[in-house]
Amino acid sequence: MKERDFARIQERLNGISRRDFMKFCTVMAASLGLPLADASRLAAAVSAPRRPPVIWLSGQACTGCTESLLRPTHPTLEHLILDLISLDYNETLNAGAGHQAEAALQASIKENYGKFILVIEGAIPTKDGGVYCMIGGRPFGEIVKETAAKAAAVVAIGSCASWGGIAAADPNPTGAMGAPEFLQGTTVVTIPGCPPNAYNFLSTVIHFLTFGKLPALDDKARPRFAYGRLIHENCERRPHFDAGRFAVKFGDEGHRKGYCLYKLGCKGPMTYANCPAILFSDVGSGSWPVGTGHPCFGCTEPGVGFHIPLHTQASLQYITPAAGHPPIIEKRGGGASVGAAALLGAVAGAVVGGGAMVLKNLEKEDETAGKDQK
């Protein structure tokens, strides 16, 4: 990005330097698994004069997803989120309230019909006509259905919006469900996590803005670049697992030494996420559950987080085993090589020949001795 192009948007970015902006775009490209050359395409997309409108609806949520986007300590990230993306409606961040906010929402939907990105935070209650979450006197589910039909793309952020999360934990009294299940027939990208990683969300949105399409998704509609591998496969404590070194109790010697947390119920072997690879948002080193000494609880995995008890051991059905185990039948060395056999043969020949000569000489000696005796 040229200096003069950047100058046009610098003010909007709260005066950050061009260098910091390009750094951010490079990090984005890297976390998406794109070549670094694409960073400039990302930069151009996010700094386009018309900012991409985002409408953010909150349902059965703790607002942790919004918080996770605001809390990263990277000095410019919140500005990048809030200033580069035109966040037209978010109940937590709206300046207005009540009828004023609702009017802004309707105006934005009308103005950006078919162009805005709809972000859903929180689960959608379905029992008893959805009375467990009402906004402006209407059930949340109704608002979601109405808005999703007019959006360019629908993103479910957080575990609740992705598959129900804690709201759908047994016995699920409100009949809570995730957006993909609720909006059947609509493609809903899910960014599960409790809370989700801000980078995974931003990377997905920016991918959409830059290339005009969604990134590759897995069977649970999660972007593959972020949810393609098991936590266990990239975990910094994996060597301890392969060596059989486990923390047995919180605070024991193994725990203090940073041993594997499998025995404490770590769900890393059944949870797909990039936490060990990029850590949590911009918080700093070691900033993910296992890094702080707590087992992974599987927040990105439907049927694991909030469903399998915290300290129940994980199933290891799909992990790649270590390469170090000996095979059932250990290969032995091959037979002697031709050279070795020839050398051995030569030595044996020399021994036999030498022995024969010694014997011959002995016989001669015997004969001469015999003659002497005669």
Binding site: A243, G244, P309, Q313, Y318, I319, P321, H325, P327, I328
Partner: protein, 318 residues
């Protein structure tokens, strides 16, 4: 000496009659061995094993054995490739290709190998000085290094290829799992089971372990059950989803039964446990031995025949 065709046939006929009169060698066989009164053993469940090898390390620690460095690898950690003079317990991996789904024939499976503690151990039968013995109470096959003469008959006799020899030593001994007898004596359990995080290696009375194995075979795959950890009767349980078991408890009947029992999700011959007859090799060998020497009839017949032929030969010469 020259044996006439006629004499030879006479001898064969006589021998045949004797064998027939004896109702065959089967009559001399020892009956199937019963479980010793307090037989203890291990139940290994490959579907619970995570391949962490903590049992391998625990075994070495409990039995004061050195780490083993495989040639061609960094001598940084213990990495035995097979059972050896310094490895009595090992986790091996069956795998075909890169398909990473556990406990499937197309995927991979772990197996833990060590002494099976047979009910009728061939090594005990083969050991001339009785250095290897089967404990009459616990059924553990123990080794007395003071009695060992280093003949290695046990290595040849064992159908599971378990006893290992200290080839590097000037005064070599046989090395094999003794089910941590020194810990059992203090009321403990074998180190491998105590260390296992998932309960894949489970210590207990063989009778109870057999029942536990049957319970697991009857489980519905995919449904969560409680699995005891370390030893049967322990208070610690882990909840796991039941795997798809091969409907067989390996060691229940193999070579007369073993006190180390195995369950797996892939056929046992894939993980190095061959199909073996339900009768022990010892019973077969004993049967032949006892039949031959029963009442010293056969030796006397053979002796008589030899004397007769030698006499005849002597007569021919003069």
């Amino acid at each position: 000496m020259k044996i006439e065709r006629r004499d030879f046939l006479k001898g064969v006929l006589g021998g045949g009659l004797l064998l027939a009169a004896d109702a065959g060698p089967a009559a001399g066989r020892s009956p199937g061995k019963e479980l010793p009164p307090n037989a203890v053993g291990i139940l290994y469940d490959a579907t619970l094993c995570i391949g962490c090898q903590v049992c391998v390390g625990a075994c070495k620690q409990a039995n004061n054995m050195p780490p083993e460095h495989t040639a061609g690898t960094d001598p940084l950690w213990d990495n035995p490739r097979d059972l050896s003079a310094s490895t009595m317990n090992i986790i091996k991996k069956y795998g075909s290709g890169d398909y990473p789904v556990k406990d499937t024939v197309a995927g991979y499976s772990f197996v833990k190998r060590h002494c099976m503690h047979c009910l009728d151990p061939a090594c005990v039968s083969a050991c001339p000085p009785s250095a290897l013995r089967k404990n009459p109470d616990t059924g553990v096959v123990t080794y007395d290094k003071k009695a060992c003469i280093g003949c290695r008959y046990c290595q040849i006799a064992c159908p599971f290829n378990i006893p290992k020899f200290e080839w590097h030593s000037a005064a070599p001994l046989i090395v094999k799992c003794q089910l941590c007898s020194h810990l059992l004596a203090k009321g403990g359990i074998s180190a491998c089971c105590a260390a296992c995080p998932t309960g894949a290696s489970l210590f207990g009375r063989v009778e109870d372990l057999r029942q536990e194995a049957k319970r697991r075979l009857a489980m519905t795959p995919g449904q969560a059950y409680d699995f005891p950890v370390a030893h049967l009767g322990a208070k610690e349980f882990q909840s796991h989803k039941a795997g798809r078991y091969v409907q067989q408890v390996y060691g229940e009947s193999e070579v007369g039964g073993t006190q180390y029992l195995l369950l797996a999700g892939v056929p046992f011959d894939k993980i190095g446990l061959p199909a073996l007859p339900s009768e022990s090799f010892v019973a077969l060998a004993d049967g032949i031995q006892y039949a031959i020497y029963k009442g010293m009839v056969y030796p006397l017949v053979v002796l008589g025949g030899l004397i007769y032929m030698i006499r005849k030969g002597e007569g021919n010469r003069h």
